[in-house]
């Protein structure tokens, strides 16, 4: 099932938005291979017609009244957490060259 190589892991890392250095990619690939080898034992189980479980308590469509209420958290206190700001706005690096 698993046929990882450093190229594939680099592609996954790009999807996951994690930079991995060239010297580390080999180690990371090897550890992911170990993990996939371990979870591959699931393949032997017959799961024909088994409904997948994504939640366990059976709640369906939990709704609340659609009423406006003030947040206990001020916008200023959230902006204060931002690493780089300008004029009370979140500053990001350029998106397009």
């Amino acid at each position: 099932m698993n046929s990882l190589n450093t190229q594939k892991v680099s592609a996954i890392a790009a999807l996951a938005h994690i930079e991995i250095s060239d010297e580390n990619i080999g180690v990371v690939t090897a550890s992911l291979e170990d993990i996939l080898k371990f979870v591959d034992q699931l393949q032997a189980v017959d799961t024909t017609d088994v409904i997948p479980t994504s939640q366990v308590t059976g709640l369906i469509d939990v709704l609340r009244e659609d009423v406006v209420k003030a947040s206990e958290i001020s916008p200023a206190s959230l902006i204060a957490l931002v690493p780089q700001t300008q004029d009370g706005q979140i500053k990001v690096k350029r998106v397009i060259k």
Binding site: A14, I18, E19, I20, S31, T53, T57, V62, L78
Partner: protein, 482 residues
């Protein structure tokens, strides 16, 4: 610790000392803070001490008591919280460099309920980074140590919570349990650890790991204390749509539960460890329990299923750490994309990266059905095994862990070896059922845990059985080394 405070091992003992005026809340909190500062060099559990805040709260409670105002059930009781819990105005790191300077802008529901009941948080404590691990060796601030042997891990991921309580820091602690992160360190450190039914305690204001599995629960010195703390934190919350209400607490059934131990969990144990459990089952039998043996066909698949589902949910949940809105950001970024990639490359530790990458892989096109969907189907089979078994039994028994606390470095270099520490705890998370670990004396003076499980929302039955087991076992652990 003062002589008076030293004797107070449980919440109810402390409450009566506070009520009779034998002790003030300030004296109790001071005693626990001084214990914290005396032993933390040896066990390294504290990430952020909260002395000033805690003493101010204690004074307020003492003033309320003098004025005859009504007090909450945990008034003046000092506790510690895993660093996953947001407490407004205090640093909350998840033991990660990516949140090393993050100050929580609000307080999560569970902590708010504890505070409303008068409990006093004296410190935020150590854990594996983002709760990924079973030893605290993956904390980016360095590992904590086990009070029963400082060359050994306290377990994880909530290892700081368990080690702090075992060392006499606080009268309870709160942690999170995604695959065993409360029960496994509780077993390693000789304290009680409870994972409630999924959804019993609101996750609002708690840093997410794997949302379909994460639960919040207490560490305590007795089952009764764990019960007290759970019921303070429990309840539906409009800020967490997955919360459920527990049925009204019925009066405890004094009949011994219909119990069975899980055969698969007793296989392959070291003879000394197996002997500890056999002797525990015998003591329960002498106390009137009729303990049968059950086999759960798919329980052996819980760990591989867990290590597909959990990384998948982690990869999604941890996408929020982008270096833009809060947390650390890389100085080397040159554009928006490298803000993401360099921040996450620099500030996430190796295990966190491994899990995000594994999760991204199992969710990616071409692998989703083979891994993620397959694991969700196996989760169904495991859940059904438990449901069928609970038709015949009230309580399932087994070890919490296959071994006592291991030594530093024993598993930290091999991810899969570390994952095996969760082998007996993950199934309860996959099935969403409540499970508790109570202390048992293990070989060479190290604690083990006896795990009891019940069907979903049968917390009352679980507490009743665990209390009976606690009484029957009369566990006496050796002395701690700090």
């Amino acid at each position: 610790m003062s002589d008076a405070a030293k004797l107070l091992h449980t919440i109810s003992q402390a409450q009566s000392a506070l009520q009779t005026g034998e002790l003030t809340a300030r004296q109790l909190v001071e005693a626990h803070l001084s214990r914290l500062h005396a032993v933390d060099d040896a066990i390294k559990v504290v990430l952020t001490p909260l002395d000033e805040r805690a003493l101010a709260q204690a004074d307020a409670i003492d003033a309320d008591r003098s004025a005859g105002r009504e007090l909450g059930v945990l008034a003046g009781i000092p506790y510690t919280a895993k660093d996953m819990f947001l407490l407004a105005g205090t640093r909350t790191t998840a033991a990660s460099q990516i949140l090393k300077d993050f100050v929580a802008p609000y307080t999560g529901t569970a902590i708010a309920k504890l505070e409303a009941a008068g409990a006093i948080c004296i410190a935020k404590v150590n854990q594996d980074e983002f709760a990924h691990g079973g030893s605290t060796e993956y904390s980016s601030f360095g590992p904590s140590k086990n009070p029963y042997g400082t060359d050994r891990v306290p377990g994880g991921s909530s290892g700081g919570s368990a080690a702090a309580l075992a060392a006499g820091i606080g009268l309870f602690s709160v942690g999170t349990d995604t695959g065993g992160s409360i029960r496994q360190p509780a077993a390693f450190c000789g304290v009680v650890g409870l994972k409630p039914t999924y959804g019993v305690v609101s996750r609002y204001g708690v840093i997410s790991m794997a949302s379909s599995l994460d639960v919040i629960g207490p560490f305590a010195n007795t089952v009764e204390d764990a019960q007290t703390v759970l019921y303070v934190m429990a309840g539906q919350d409009s800020n967490d749509a997955t919360t459920i209400a527990l049925p009204e607490q019925s009066t405890a059934d004094s009949k011994p539960p219909r119990a069975a131990y899980i055969k698969e969990y007793m296989e392959g144990l070291h003879p000394d460890v197996a002997a500890a459990y056999t002797s525990a089952y015998e003591k329960l039998t002498q106390a009137g329990w009729d303990i049968k043996t059950v086999s759960l066909e798919h329980v052996g698949l819980a760990l591989p299923a867990y290590y597909v589902l959990t990384p998948a949910e982690i990869s999604s949940n941890l996408e929020r750490y982008d270096g833009v809105r809060y947390g650390s950001t890389s100085d080397a970024a040159t554009d928006l994309n490298t803000t993401y990639t360099k921040t996450r490359g620099e500030f996430f530790g190796p295990e966190v990266q491994r899990r995000i990458l594994t999760g991204t892989y199992v969710l990616s096109a071409g692998y989703y059905d083979a891994y993620y969907k397959k694991a969700m189907q196996v989760r169904t089979l495991i859940k059904q095994d438990f449901e069928a078994t609970f038709a015949d039994y009230d309580i399932l028994l087994g070890p919490t862990t296959p071994t006592a606390a291991f030594k530093f470095g024993e598993h930290s270099q091999a991810p899969v070896a570390m994952y095996l520490a969760d082998i007996m705890t993950v199934a309860a998370n996959l099935a969403g059922i409540p499970a508790i670990s109570i202390p048992l004396a293990g070989p060479s003076g190290l604690p083990l845990g006896l795990q009891l499980m019940a069907k979903q929302t049968n917390e009352a039955g679980l507490f009743g059985a665990a209390t009976a087991a606690e009484t029957a076992l009369q566990t006496e652990l050796g002395a701690i080394q700090v």
